[in-house]
């Protein structure tokens, strides 16, 4: 496995791509394996597309239903920010099949989102906005009896974009402990990503319905190829960064699973021709996928350009006979961009489901942590020197080292960052400055005269260090739980954390809107409900859109 000091850097996290064990991929595999069914059980939507719909998923254990409320929204009210108060559509994933009374109750609270109150019968609360570029255009085409142009579909990639997908007890929702009691839901983000898959189904049906109402007998339905192209968009902001900080055990397990998978493939002594052929085919697909990756972000454009060149280098390199994947990865580590290294890592896992897929079961985490009060000051110093050397090396006297502070705004609890010297609120800073906290506790430990003093006594005397000591002690057995960079530094790019997390979801087509905000596409290329039971249902990594121009049109 690659060591933590190599893997747990912001730049590398900001270069990760979807893998076989990303959560969307493992969900689709499970749907396929267990023959889940998806049925639209209610459709009370008017000619303009406003109303209620219900989709019910049948799993071997139980049923879940997505209840969708589609609402009229003025363009001026459409924002992806948490500060929005109205949305084009709102959703709840509920346990079981809701009856009329349930839907009536949900209709009163779900459209309010954070301002409403859910019950423990609801697992997920979500909302989405239409793509103004695409939604009306698609409806217009279909109503007129035409299929929309693939090029235009591909440039956006979705009809609606979720702006929040809440779970785990937020706003009265079911606690995760309850959700986890069902084996089908026990993977991280399983319920949330099932919701997103069903939202995708809803958007497909919604354009068909509105077009049919508008065009009557002249209208056509969106064809299968186009539906497959259209995933669900997502706009993601700063909230994901504090999440990674607050859940180091989970982060550790995600990274360990990914690195273990890569390590297993690298340890393969020789590759069969079938495996090599599969790799080469996927490499070609990935190259085309990258050609079709559009963004306006200048930095990401440069990276995509380099990634394309690097994939060409991989294509031109022969595959060694002995330990072929290790040799290839080792060469990549010294010859290719980080984007390319990580895409290669993802690609190498694809031909080896027998080595990789079981690791998806290891990505949950017991997040309970406790202080080890009987450890001594000397032992804690040793731990810091061994596990937090990266933190001790940061010079906080340097200008810019404490530039940012992270906080939560009173405005709908939106996570934000501020400039320490310019913005108000630093006194309410969230404790994301792990490195500076580690240095402070290290200094106080060093100043303690008795190295045999227990941590219990040290913390009773220094209660301000209780948080970081608990963290440090519990990271000893979670070496990949800590992002080994200064999250307060002027040059820190929050988007790296966002992308790292989103890659574990299985997101593609990262489209940064700033260094702290990105749009992505989810489930693009994923099988439609009627295709879920097919043998190739899992074969949708790095999807390529047939008929889309392979344009070098990113504004580099």
């Amino acid at each position: 496995m690659r060591p933590p000091h190599v893997v747990m850097r912001l730049e590398r996290m900001g270069s990760l791509h979807q893998t076989r064990i990303s959560f969307m991929r493992s969900l689709v595999r499970r749907m396929n394996r267990e023959k889940w069914t998806i049925e639209r059980t209610q459709w009370d939507v008017n000619e303009l597309g406003y109303g209620v719909a219900v989709y019910t998923v049948g799993t071997p254990e139980r049923s879940y239903s997505l209840v969708a409320f589609s609402n009229e929204l003025d363009d001026a009210d459409r924002t992806d920010r948490v500060i929005a108060e109205k949305w084009d559509a709102t959703f709840a994933l509920v346990d079981g099949i809701p009856d009329d009374a349930d839907i009536e109750r949900l209709g009163r609270c779900i459209p309010l989102q954070e301002a409403g109150r859910c019950s423990s019968s609801e697992l997920v609360l979500s909302r989405a906005n239409k793509s103004v570029r695409l939604f009306d255009y698609v409806v217009e085409c279909l109503a007129d009896g035409r299929q929309p142009e693939i090029q235009r579909l591909a440039e956006v990639g979705y009809l609606m974009r979720t702006t929040a997908v809440y779970g785990n007890g937020k706003f009265g929702l079911s606690d995760r402990e309850k959700v986890m009691r069902e084996e089908v839901m026990c993977s991280p983000y399983r319920a949330e990503l099932l919701s997103v898959y069903l939202i995708r189904c809803f958007t497909h049906d919604l354009v068909d319905h509105v077009a049919s109402m508008r065009g009557g007998g002249r209208s056509v339905k969106l064809d299968k190829q186009r539906k497959t192209i259209l995933g669900i968009g997502n706009a993601t902001g700063l909230g994901m960064a504090p999440y990674l900080h607050k859940h180091p055990a989970l982060l550790n397990n995600w990274i360990v699973a990914r690195e273990t998978a890569l390590g297993r493939v690298r340890a393969v002594p020789s590759a069969t021709p079938e495996k090599v052929e599969r790799f080469r085919m996927l490499l070609e697909r990935a190259a085309e996928h990258v050609h079709q990756w559009r963004t306006d972000d200048a930095l990401q454009c440069v990276r995509i350009e380099q990634l394309s060149k690097d994939l060409e280098h991989i294509r031109n390199r022969p595959i060694d006979e002995h330990y072929p994947w290790h040799e290839l990865m080792q060469w990549a580590e010294t010859s290719l961009s980080m984007e390319a290294q990580e895409m290669l890592a993802s690609l190498l896992m694809e031909p080896y489901p027998e080595l990789v897929d079981e690791l998806e079961c290891t990505m949950g985490a017991d997040e309970s942590v406790s202080i080890h009060p009987d450890a001594t000051v000397r032992e804690l110093l040793d731990t810091i020197e061994q596990s937090y050397e990266w933190a001790l090396q940061i010079d906080f006297e340097q200008a810019g080292a404490s530039h940012w502070f992270w906080y939560v705004s009173k405005e709908k609890l939106e996570p934000r960052i501020g400039v320490r010297d310019d913005d108000t609120g630093a006194d309410k800073e969230m404790p994301l400055g792990v490195a500076v906290q580690a240095q402070r506790v290290y200094a106080d430990l060093k100043a303690t005269r008795n190295p045999h003093q227990t941590v219990a006594v040290f913390l009773a005397l220094h209660p301000q260090h209780r948080h970081i000591v608990r963290r440090i002690q519990n990271m000893v057995c979670r070496p990949y739980g800590e992002i080994q960079d200064n999250l307060l530094d002027e040059h820190m790019r929050p988007i790296d954390m966002l992308r790292g997390k989103l890659s574990f979801f299985g997101a593609t087509k990262f489209d940064p809107k700033s260094d702290r905000w990105t749009r992505i596409t989810m489930y693009q290329g994923a099988p439609l409900p009627e295709e879920l039971h097919a043998d190739d249902a899992d074969d949708w990594c790095f999807p390529v859109i047939e008929g889309m121009e392979s344009a070098a049109s990113n504004p580099v």
Partner: protein, 236 residues
């Protein structure tokens, strides 16, 4: 009002931070609040009472003296009570170290919300540590006796106090609106609590949330425009 256990924990943690309690102690309080809820005790009331005491200056982190076999922790000057919200986890750490010591004695004087302190012990001590409690009648004091022996939380009387290794003195005998009496017993953890969440008094809950809101930063035009790195509209 119905809340999830996750809401309970997060709100208690934030509320503690809102009253100025350090992050580490706020994390302890989060665990203690969950323990109270899972055992059918008034979690929101207990935490709220404790935070009011901190915020008003009635309770404090206090001062303590340590020797090889004794802890004596008291409110110190200027405070009436020892804050269960502030000291809970740290006290649990210290008491854990005393567990193997048969001759050890530990005293927390005038703990403001004893029920919360009990939860702090239960939630923050190792699973092998067991707490035997004795609840005396009003105007008397509460013992927390720690032992590494029998599993379970046991209510006991008289003799236990005399032979107890740890002793608490408390200044009040109530927790929120619940009066603890001689018949107090600790019930087993309700494993189904996480399936259904928790019903709480909306008034107290909102007051607790008001403490949590103290961690939030007032928005400005600049923070609105720049703080999240996104535009104010997204009609793409």
């Amino acid at each position: 009002m119905h809340i999830s256990l996750n809401e309970l924990m997060l709100t208690c943690q934030k509320a503690a931070r809102g009253t100025g309690i350090a992050e580490g102690a706020a994390e302890d309080l989060r665990k203690a609040a969950l323990w109270l809820a899972l055992h059918g005790f008034p979690a929101v009331d207990s935490v709220y009472d404790a935070l009011v005491a901190v915020e008003s200056g009635v309770s404090a982190y206090g001062e303590f003296t340590l020797s090889d076999d004794a802890i004596d922790w008291h409110p110190g000057c200027g405070a009436e009570g020892l804050s269960a919200a502030s000291i809970g986890g740290a006290a649990a750490d210290l008491f854990t170290l005393f567990l193997p010591n048969e001759d050890g004695a530990a005293c927390l004087r005038s703990v403001d919300v004893p029920l919360l302190q009990l939860a702090q012990f239960a939630a923050n001590m190792p699973a092998t540590a067991r707490i035997l409690i004795r609840w005396f009648d009003q105007n008397s004091r509460i013992d927390f006796r720690l032992t590494a022996g029998e599993l379970g939380l046991i209510a006991c009387k008289g003799a236990a106090y005399a032979s107890g290794r740890f002793q608490f003195e408390v200044s009040q005998h109530t927790c929120g609106n619940v009066t603890v009496d001689d018949n107090f017993t600790v019930v087993a953890e309700d494993e189904n609590m996480s399936l259904r969440g928790l019903d709480v008094d909306e008034v107290i809950w909102e007051k607790l949330k008001a403490f949590a809101d103290l961690t939030l930063v007032e928005p400005t035009a600049r923070s609105r425009a720049l703080g999240a790195g996104a535009g104010l509209d997204d009609n793409d």
